[in-house]
Amino acid sequence: MNAFTGTGTLVRFVLRRDRVRLTVWVLALVGTVVATIPALGEMFTTQAQRQARAALMDTPTGVVFGGPGYGLDDYQLGPMVVNELTMSMLIALAVMSVLHVVRHTRAEEESGRAELLRANVLGASAQMTAALVTVSLVNLLVGGLTAVAMIGNGLETADSVAYGLGLALAGISFGAIAAVCAQVVEHGRSAAGLAFLVLGVLFLCRVVGDMAEEGGNALSWLSPFAWAQQTRVFADPRWWPLALYAVLIVVLFALTYALAGRRDLGAGLVAARPGPAGASGLLNGVFALHLHQQRGAVVAWTVATFLFAVAFGSLVTEVDAMLEENPDLLAVLGGGGGADDVTGGFLGVMSGYVLMAASAYAALSVLRARTEETSGRAELTLSTAVGRVRWFGSALLVSVLSSALIVVAGGVGMGLSASAALEDSSWMWTMTGAALAQLPVALLFAALAALLTGAAPRLVPLVWAWLGYSILASVLGPLVGLDDWLLHLSAFELLPRLPGEDFDAVAVAVALGVVLVANAVALAGFRRRDLSTV
């Protein structure tokens, strides 16, 4: 028996345990690629349109979401795929790889399952190795299928392979970073948090480096987010940046094993910090408890929404030029009038994205109450002198307030940057008002989540079905020419998009009325039904 005894069995076990999870990841990622490549080809048919798009990718926001911008001078399908797709693919691969590695290393130790396994004929490094092997396999699969999809769309074989390999190696590096983090801290959640923090910093390094200098400066070169595009595929290909991934992966894997060898099962290199020995006066009721539970998430969503809104808002000056070259975009922006209409329409569409984020959080926030219930914590809380209506009502109030905060942050952010870009401060108020006018849509999702939690907890996934459908229909519907009635099933089409469209007080009042009724029914249902118990 050596340190790796049993790795093969564990690899099969991990793949079996996660067969659904991993299949969904692979299908979603490869599906995105397969759908995006022809869509890009169809949206931008002439060279002029493509160059207009390239100009957009050359703006600061374009650099954030695009990359260093190789191939922008001659923006054909290949460079387009690389510039438009890489960052979302890398971010998704990072999330997948970090969660996978932490799930099969530190989270297993934390749950005690690792102890059960280690007591068997199993090498000390087998679990870590199984996690690293499986994360590598999945990333290689995604990268390989991406390359196949690109070649299938007529792109050069060598460049496609280099690109797919770059994505895969980047994903494996992210998994390796997570593996090191999992050695350092004691808990799965903190390990994932630390890994995401490291990756966030590396992402920012690339953004700042790419903005500072065309093609990226030394700071950008520090980041594995940069190397996949530094191969300059479809522009002036070179393979050697991929070697950087290989070096990084080898170093991180070696570091992981070295750290793992120096610590006990279950222990971390950094002990968890102690917290307060008693509750402060602020933690004095269920509303405060719900708020305390969500404060980190609310702050994160608010800040992220604000930053995205600022970035999108700053694009507003590029819109006119973009539209001249690419009239198809009008279908996305809605309306068809003059310059102000176009600016308003553009900002309205961007506000729509903010609203989607706020809607997702509104539902998530309500469903936290459901998690409290199924975890057994609600049982403990409700065994005290806390009524069910007060408990669930406070959760709903937290959801309303936090989604309103996210909506306002988005509106203010977009307003600020649009005001600055257009040198017209009135946009600040216009956009904040426009965002608030759409808030009832987010509240509708919260209300549906509440209604199902209160009255029919088994149907809770319906919330996600409707949200997913609404996002897909509203984002892609206009592009693919979705039937009107199908489009109007999307929640995001219920209320007019300000400032491009006019405020409709009746529609807002109806939406708010539905929200109130649904919440009342939710509270009544929750009061009458049995608590779900563990």
Binding site: E186, H187, R189, A272, P274, G275, P276, A277, G278, A279, L283, N284, G285, V286, L289, H292, Q293, G296, S375, G376, R377, E379, L380, T381, L382, S383, T384, A385, V386, G387, R388, D530, L531, T533, V534
Partner: protein, 311 residues
């Protein structure tokens, strides 16, 4: 005599088609410690959740501190404290924060007693709940319950994660609570614990109460083990009414005696020339085995009468 703290009569509870409670009866007299015994899945936790108004009984009547736990939950909960069998806490809160929070939600807790209990249970209140073991999470809920002024304590297998030292602390705390005049409902499958602490016992099986009464009442129904050294021929005891499991080893005889026949059996034993006599009352384990004898395999040694921790 004051009205009982808990009075459950003929309660049914269904989960879909599965019947969890089947005409359950349970009485807990005020000021007493009541044991609630049964194996896993017998309906103990379901009963407790009905008592807390978390589940609604499908039939029967439930009275808790003179009120209806489903309708008057909040009012009644001010007067009770509950420790679940499997305590889950808020991962981001420390133990100390969770204790304070639960105390405040219940309507206040005694800071002096909180401090004392933290010391006695050796709990570090500055650790985040996600780092606590099962036993430590249980201590958090126990401290929050015991530091309150609740007149009724409902404890669902409260020691299942505690080590023997902490179990001893727990036993002391329950005795103190009883001395203060509080009522305790203690669900358990640790028989020695119930024997040590409880005035009355209700045994539940498949959602029905199959036996209830004071420990003495129950013992009356069962057999005592008698070991005697006699000069005569012990085989004379064979076939005597109320004698079971007669084992003779030289001049030592061991037998189980139905308590109802103790008098006649003892007369026979004395007639054999008694030199020494040891009689043990039936342990709760034996009571338990009588009801679950056919489920021994599934119990997996779930209760050992020797005072050690049950699995």
């Amino acid at each position: 005599m004051p009205s009982p703290a808990i009075e459950v009569r003929g309660v049914d509870k269904y989960f879909g088609r599965f019947q969890a409670l089947d005409g359950l009866d349970l009485t807990v007299p005020t000021g007493q410690v009541a044991g609630f015994l049964g194996p896993n899945g017998s309906g103990k936790s379901t009963t407790i959740r009905v008592l807390l108004g978390l589940l609604r009984a499908d039939a029967g009547s439930v009275s808790l501190l003179g009120g209806d736990p489903w309708r008057d939950a909040v009012r009644l909960h001010r007067r009770l404290a509950y420790v679940p069998g499997d305590v889950t806490l808020w991962p981001g809160l420390t133990g100390g924060q969770a204790i304070d929070l639960l105390g405040r939600l219940r309507g206040g807790l005694d800071p002096g007693r909180r401090k004392e209990l933290l010391a006695r249970f050796e709990l570090d209140p500055t650790k985040k709940a996600r780092t606590y073991s099962k036993g430590n999470r249980q201590k958090v809920a126990l401290i929050a319950a015991l530091a309150s002024d609740a007149e009724l304590l409902i404890l669902d297998e409260p020691t299942s994660g505690l080590d023997p030292l902490m179990e001893a602390v727990f036993t002391e705390c329950v005795m103190e609570a009883k001395a203060q005049g509080r009522t305790v409902l203690l669900s358990s499958h640790i028989l020695s614990e119930v024997e040590k602490l409880c005035d009355t016992v209700t045994i539940i099986r498949k959602g029905r109460s199959v036996e209830s009464g004071s420990l003495d009442d129950l013992r009356h129904l069962t057999r005592s083990t008698v070991r005697a050294t006699v000069s005569g021929d012990a085989r004379a005891l064979e076939g005597v009414d109320g004698v079971h499991n007669l084992r003779v080893d030289g001049d030592t005889v061991t037998l189980d005696v139905d308590n109802t026949h103790m008098d006649t059996v003892m007369r026979t034993v004395t007639g054999l020339g008694l030199r020494s006599l040891v009689s043990n009352p039936p342990s709760l384990e034996e009571l338990f085995m009588r009801h679950y004898g056919d489920e021994l395999a599934t119990l997996n040694g779930g209760g050992r009468g020797d005072g050690s921790t049950a699995a």
